[in-house]
Symmetry: C2
Subunit: 177 residues, 2 copies
Amino acid sequence: MVAAGAALADEVGFARLTMGLLAERVGVRTPSLYKHVGGQDDLNRRIAALALNEAADAVGDAVRGYAGRDALAAAARAFRAFVLAHPGRYAATIGQEPSGPEDPLATAGQRLLGAFTAVLRGYDIPDHEVNHALRLLRSLFHGFATLQAADGFQWSTDVDESFEWLIAFADRGLRTL
Amino acid sequence: MVAAGAALADEVGFARLTMGLLAERVGVRTPSLYKHVGGQDDLNRRIAALALNEAADAVGDAVRGYAGRDALAAAARAFRAFVLAHPGRYAATIGQEPSGPEDPLATAGQRLLGAFTAVLRGYDIPDHEVNHALRLLRSLFHGFATLQAADGFQWSTDVDESFEWLIAFADRGLRTL
DNA sequence: CAGTCTTGGCTAACGTCAGTAGCTTTTAGT
DNA sequence: ACTAAAAGCTACTGACGTTAGCCAAGACTG
């Protein structure tokens, strides 16, 4: 149900994800959906939680066995690949605030954060700067991925190249704190 | 009209900006709005263009008279301040693709980009890397601002401090290319 | 000054969509 | 075989975006 919604969001775009469309997709009349989800808000939040968990898995898997720059590059590429492959469900995460620490959305966010924290362990970062570095990485990758997904880079230069440049930039910065 | 819409979006949140609400705000019945804007899509795009132009102005003004690290810090702070002061209209810019080079949205985006380009002139950046650096800055600030506006994580540590740390990080990286 | 065109407002209506109420069917457990 | 939960359905409501068609006020022109 939520998986179908996420898939549909990836196909038609998150903004065009409608209860009626989802019902049609799963071969059911619209009101029947309400036996499975609380409503559109609930559906959106669950798609967002799914997306964050999947992103955390993707980043976590990609990082396994690597450290330092290799880990950073693997995490970055995995994250971007995920967002580009699943733009709809990732868009669902934008503008969702977890209602509390028990919210599945919050724990999913924590898992993703944890995956990036693992990357930072490969660098020599003072304790009190780890949170700052974490926010840096999240901002950087979230920003790049969403801008590209929205086609925010209208310029001609190759985007892949920019992304690799960006990874190198972050790596250099993290190595020289 | 568009200005009123932008103001309303800032107040109630972009997602809750409705034609009926805007009509009420400007003291008119809903259908009368269509004498001024083409519809909700058109309104959204115009609000987005307004926001990008205002952001470009804010960044451009803030940078004037500074260079290097001072310019970068001024630009970054101005941009973030703008997004936090006008979350609704800035949210309108997310996920809007300009229809062509003549689209006011595209030219507004170019102006904002130009403001950041001015900042980069204060650093010694090889020609072929300027575009990469530009995308870095845009991703970084867009990501940070939107994540904070959406309260995307549980920010336990002070956000202002993280932002200043992020500025310092970017400055160091740009100085040592 | 009279006529006309433009501008900006209005009411009435329609289509789409989220969501609710209440009933029926299917299915699973005893 | 019986019952109760799970999951489906039709019918309906209300909110919203949007269009059609009409009307009033002001500007421009003969």
